[in-house]
Amino acid sequence: METTLAAEPVSETATPAGELADFDAVVRDHQPAVFRFLLASLREREPAENLTQECFLRAYQARRSFRGDASARTWLMRIAVNLMNDHRKSARLRFWRRAGETSLDVAFTGDWLADRRSSPEAEASAREQVRVVWRAAAALSERQRTVFLLRFVEEMEIKEIAAALGLQDGTVKAHLFRAVDAVRKRLTETS
C-alpha cells in the first residue's frame, strides 16, 4: 500500500456542485469506497450493502442541495458515517463485540495481501501483522476506529476525514494518534 506519509500539508480540492449532476458517474466512482468503508467498519456484508444503497439513495435525493464546498467523496462519506452511526445504535456493534464469530472473519484478510514475492515466513509474519491490527482496531473506540479506517483503508487526508466527521483537524489527529499508538503497542506486544 502507498499510504502517504509525506510531511506536506494536506489539501482538499473543492468539487463543483455540478459533479453530482452525473449521478451514474458518482455511483460508479464512489460506491466501492463507500461499501469498503462500511464493510470494514461493520464487518458484515449485508448491512454494509444495505447502508451503501441507502447512502446513495439519500445522496441521490439530496443531490440538489450539494453545495460543492467539499468533495463528493467527503460528502458521501459523511452520509455513510451518519448511517453507520444510526445502524450501530440499533445493532449495538454486534460484530466488533463478538470479533471472529462471523463468516466474514477478518482474520483472513491477511490472505489478501498482494505481495506474494516474499518468503513464506515473511508472508506468514505479514499476515499475522494484519490480524493483529484488526484485533487492535476492534478494541478501539468507535470514533478512533472510524478515523483509523478512513485514514489507512480509505487513505483519506486529515482534512477530508475532519470534513466527513464534522470534526476539527486537531481532533482527528488526536483520535488518530491514540488509534495508531494503541495498534503499535499491540503489535509490539505480539511480536
Binding site: M1, E2, T3, L5, A7, V10, F23, D24, V27, R28, Q31, P32, F35, R36, L39, A40, R45, E49, T52, Q53, F56, L57, Y60, Q61, L104, V106, F108, T109, G110, D111, W112, L113, A114, A126, Q129, V130, V132, V133, W134, A137, L149, R151, F152, V153, E155, I158, V172, K173, L176, F177, A179, V180, D181, V183, R184, L187
Partner: protein, 148 residues
C-alpha cells in the same frame, strides 16, 4: 532534537502530527527514517489487505437499483398521501352527510311548518267553510263572524 524519535513521536507522525523538529530529524536520521518506514508497514499492509478483501466483496455498482429504490420510495410516498387522503375522506364523509341530513331535516321542518301555518291561517277547517260563508252573508256589517 537530541537522540532519536521516540515511539510516541513516531505514532504522532503516522497520525499526521508533524512537528518541525521531527521533520528535520527524519530528513537527517536514517535510523529514524527506517524506523518510521518499519512502523508504517503493518498499517499499510492492513489497508491493502482490507481493500483487497473488500474489493472481492464489493457488489457491482447498482445505479439501476438505486433509481428503482428512489421510484419505490416516491411511489410509497404517493401511496401514503393517497391513504392519508382516504382516511381524511372517511373521517370527513360522516360529518358531511350528517350536515346534509341536518339541512334536509331543516328543509322538511320548514315545509311542514309552512304547511301548518297555512292550515292555521284558514279561518275555519275545510269541512266548515260553507257554514262560514253563510255566516258572512248574514252579517249586517258585511264582515266575517270570525273576524269579530
Amino acid at each position: 532534537m537530541s537522540g532519536h524519535l521516540s515511539s510516541v513521536e513516531i505514532s504522532e507522525w503516522l497520525a499526521g502530527i508533524r512537528a518541525a523538529g521531527a521533520e528535520r530529524h527524519l530528513a537527517e536520521c536514517a535510523v529514524c527514517a527506517a524506523e518510521l518506514e518499519r512502523a508504517s508497514e503493518p498499517l499499510a499492509r492492513f489497508g491493502a489487505a482490507t481493500r483487497a478483501w473488500c474489493a472481492a466483496e464489493t457488489p457491482v455498482p447498482r445505479l439501476g437499483s438505486i433509481k428503482i429504490a428512489v421510484r419505490r420510495r416516491r411511489r410509497f410516498t404517493g401511496v401514503r398521501v393517497a391513504l392519508a387522503a382516504a382516511a381524511a375522506l372517511m373521517m370527513a364523509a360522516p360529518v358531511y352527510f350528517r350536515h346534509q341530513r341536518a339541512i334536509e331535516t331543516a328543509r322538511q321542518d320548514e315545509a311542514l311548518l309552512e304547511q301548518v301555518q297555512t292550515e292555521v291561517a284558514l279561518s275555519a277547517p275545510e269541512p266548515m267553510q260553507p257554514l262560514e260563508k253563510l255566516v258572512k252573508w248574514n252579517s249586517p256589517s258585511g264582515q266575517s263572524a270570525s273576524s269579530q
